[in-house]
C-alpha cells in the first residue's frame, strides 16, 4: 500500500513529524447513512449499499487520509464474533432510523469458561455459542459471510479507484472484553472477583488462539496495522490491581507477539484510561497506537506516551452531534497543537462518528486537519 494519505498515517505511527496532521474519522455504516441520507433500515440488509454509502460520503467531503474498513451489516458483527451478543437491529426490533444496538444479557455460563479453555474459543463459538445468540440459520450465516467477502472485494476496488488505503486490515476484540460481552458486565465482574480461576484459564486460551489467528490473518494483507478493541477494562471500571491481573499480561503477550512480526496494534479504547496510560510505556516503542474516545485525557496521554506511542482521537460524539462548526474546528486545532506537536498524532473521532452528526461539523473536522498548520508541527 502506498499513497500520500496512508504514508502520512504510517509516518505518524512511526512517531515522526508529518507535513500536516493526518485525519481518519471512524466512519461506520451508521453515520455514513446519516450523512448520505440513507435509511438505516435499508443499510442493515445490504453490504453493497453500505460500501457505496461510505464512499459517497468519502467523496462528498473531499476524502481523508485512510479509511476505516467497517462495511458490515450488523448481523455479520454477531456472526464473526466482534459483538458476541444478541442484537436489536434497525427496522427490525428498532425503528428504521435508530442504529443497531447490543443487548446486554447473560448468555455465557460459568461452566463455559473451562469449555473455552479446553476446546478453544473459535470452536466453542462456532459450534455452540453462536447458536445461543443468533436468529440466523447455518445457511443464512454462510450467506452473510459470502456477502461480506463480496463486499470486501468491492471495498478494495473502491479504495484502489481513489488511491487510498484501509487504516487497518485485521481486527479483533480483547479476550477480556469478549468475555464481558458474552457473560454480561455484572456477572462477569462477579466472576472476576469471586471465581477468578476459570476466567483466567479462558483468558489464556483465548489469548493463545487470538495470536495464532491474527498472525495468520495479517499474512494475507499488505499492511502492518491491526485494530484491537477494549471498552471495559480501563481505570474507569477496574482497579490497577485487577487490571494488572486480568488484562495487562494477556495484552502484553498479544502486542509483543504481533510486534515480533512488525505488526502495530492500534487499540480502540473507550472510557477513561487516564490511570492506565503509563502501562503502555512498557511495550516496545512504536508497537502500539491508542485510539481514544474523548473521556481519556488526550493531553495527558501525550505527556506520558510522547515519542513512544501514536495517539488517535478524539473529537467527542456529543460535540459532533450538537456543536457548531466553529466549536469543532476549535477543538481540533487545540488537539493538533497540543497532541500533534512533534508528530505521532492522528486526528480522529471519539469512538465513532455519531449517527446524527451534523454534516457541517463533520466537514469542519476534516477540513481543519487538512488546512490547519500549527507552528509546533512545521
Amino acid at each position: 500500500m502506498s499513497n500520500e494519505g496512508y504514508e502520512r498515517v504510517q509516518t505518524a505511527m512511526r512517531l515522526e513529524p508529518t507535513d500536516r496532521i493526518p485525519v481518519v474519522p471512524t466512519l461506520l455504516p451508521e453515520p455514513a447513512a446519516g450523512l448520505a441520507g440513507v435509511l438505516l433500515g435499508d443499510m442493515v440488509k445490504d453490504n453493497t449499499l453500505v460500501v457505496e454509502t461510505i464512499f459517497k460520503v468519502f467523496d462528498e467531503y473531499g476524502g481523508w487520509d485512510a479509511i476505516y474498513p467497517g462495511f458490515y451489516i450488523p448481523i455479520q458483527l454477531q456472526v464473526m464474533g466482534n459483538f458476541p451478543m444478541k442484537m436489536s437491529i434497525s427496522g427490525q426490533e428498532l425503528a428504521p432510523d435508530i442504529p443497531f444496538q447490543l443487548n446486554e444479557q447473560e448468555i455465557l455460563q460459568v461452566e463455559d469458561y473451562d469449555r473455552i479453555a479446553e476446546i478453544g474459543y473459535d470452536k466453542f463459538f462456532q459450534e455452540d455459542y453462536l447458536w445461543r445468540i443468533t436468529k440466523a440459520t447455518p445457511d443464512e450465516v454462510k450467506k452473510h459471510m459470502d456477502q461480506l467477502i463480496a463486499a470486501d472485494g468491492l471495498f478494495t476496488r473502491c479504495c484502489a479507484n481513489r488511491n487510498i488505503s484501509r487504516l487497518f486490515t485485521g481486527n479483533g476484540t480483547h479476550p477480556f472484553f469478549t468475555l464481558s460481552l458474552m457473560r454480561s458486565m455484572v456477572p462477569f465482574t462477579q466472576d472476576v472477583y469471586y471465581n477468578p480461576e476459570p476466567v483466567e484459564r479462558a483468558l489464556q486460551r483465548m489469548t493463545d488462539d487470538l495470536i495464532a489467528a491474527k498472525l495468520a490473518e495479517m499474512k494475507h494483507w499488505d499492511s502492518n496495522i491491526w485494530l484491537f478493541t477494549e471498552e471495559r477494562a480501563g481505570g474507569y471500571f477496574f482497579s490497577p490491581k485487577m487490571f494488572e491481573r486480568f488484562w495487562w499480561p494477556y495484552t502484553r503477550q498479544i502486542v509483543e507477539a504481533m510486534w515480533e512480526h512488525g505488526i502495530v496494534t492500534l487499540f480502540h479504547l473507550d472510557t477513561c484510561w487516564d490511570k492506565n496510560l503509563a502501562y503502555f510505556k512498557q511495550l516496545p516503542r512504536g508497537s502500539i497506537a491508542l485510539e481514544l474516545d474523548g473521556t481519556t485525557d488526550l493531553a495527558l496521554a501525550k505527556e506520558i506516551l510522547n515519542d513512544h506511542a501514536c495517539l488517535k482521537g478524539d473529537v467527542p460524539a456529543a460535540l459532533l452531534a450538537l456543536g457548531t462548526p466553529e466549536e469543532v474546528a476549535s477543538y481540533c486545532k487545540e488537539k493538533i497543537d497540543i497532541v500533534g506537536a512533534g508528530g505521532g498524532y492522528i486526528l480522529g473521532t471519539g469512538c465513532s462518528v455519531p449517527p446524527n452528526v451534523k454534516p457541517e461539523n463533520f466537514r469542519a473536522m476534516i477540513d481543519t486537519a487538512k488546512n490547519y498548520r500549527p507552528k509546533a508541527v512545521l
Binding site: 444496538q101 465482574t189 471500571f237 460524539a317
Partner: protein
C-alpha cells in the same frame, strides 16, 4: 466475624447475605439491618470518591444491596417502614436501549432511601411527561450511551417546559456519551459519567432543601 457494614464495604457478598439472614431469623428489627446496609453502601461511595474503589466495586456493592433489599423487603413492609428521602424518575430515552449505568444509579439511589421510578429504555417523551405529572419527582435522570437519544431527551424537556413542570425538579444527565455540551443543550442541572457523583448530587440537594 465483622459487622454487616464492613462486609458490604469489603464486598463479602456471601457473608453479608448470611448475616442478614441470621439477624432476620433472630427477630431483629429489619430497619436496623437496612440502616447497616446503607451505612456500608455510604462507605462504598466514599471509597469510590476517594479513588480507592472503581466502577466494578460500585457494581458489586449494588448487587449485594439488591440481594439484601430483596431479603429485607417483606419484613420492612410488615413493619410499615418507609423513609423516603427523595423521589427520582430514571429513563433511557427513545433511540437508546442501554441501561447498565442507569441500573447501577437506580440501585445506589435506593440504597440511600430514594424512591426510584425506573421507566426503562427506549422511553417515549410523552411517557416521561406522564410520569412526571403523576409522581411530581424531586429529580429526573436521563441516561445516554449513544447520541441518538439526544433528540428525544430534548423533546421530553421541551414538553416539560411547555407544561410548566421543568422548574419543579432537578434534571440529571449521565452516561458515556453525555458531556457539558449535551447538558447545556437540554438545560440539565447536572451531568456526570459517575453514578456515585449522581447520588451525591441528589443527597446534597435534598439536604439543602431541608
Amino acid at each position: 466475624m465483622g459487622s454487616l457494614q464492613e462486609m458490604i464495604e469489603t464486598l463479602e457478598r456471601d457473608q453479608a447475605i448470611e448475616l442478614i439472614t441470621q439477624r432476620l431469623s433472630s427477630g431483629e428489627n429489619p430497619v436496623a439491618i437496612l440502616n447497616d446496609c446503607r451505612e456500608g453502601m455510604t462507605r462504598i461511595g466514599e471509597l469510590f470518591q476517594e479513588g480507592d474503589y472503581f466502577l466494578a466495586e460500585l457494581l458489586l456493592s449494588a448487587e449485594i444491596f439488591k440481594e439484601a433489599a430483596a431479603l429485607l423487603s417483606p419484613h420492612l413492609q410488615k413493619e410499615g417502614a418507609t423513609d423516603v428521602c427523595g423521589t427520582i424518575i430514571l429513563a433511557t430515552m427513545r433511540g437508546d436501549v442501554h441501561d447498565l449505568g442507569k441500573n447501577i444509579l437506580a440501585t445506589l439511589l435506593r440504597a440511600q432511601s430514594f424512591d426510584v421510578h425506573d421507566l426503562g429504555v427506549n422511553v417515549e417523551p410523552t411517557d416521561l411527561l406522564q410520569k412526571v405529572k403523576e409522581i411530581e419527582p424531586d429529580f429526573v435522570g436521563l441516561s445516554a450511551l449513544i447520541t441518538t437519544s439526544f433528540e428525544s431527551s430534548k423533546q421530553a424537556v421541551d414538553m416539560l417546559e411547555e407544561e410548566g413542570l421543568r422548574g419543579k425538579f432537578k434534571l440529571l444527565v449521565g452516561g458515556g456519551v453525555t458531556t457539558n455540551t449535551f447538558k447545556d443543550h437540554i438545560g440539565a442541572d447536572f451531568q456526570t459519567h459517575d453514578a456515585s457523583a449522581g447520588v451525591e448530587y441528589c443527597i446534597e440537594y435534598m439536604r439543602k432543601a431541608g
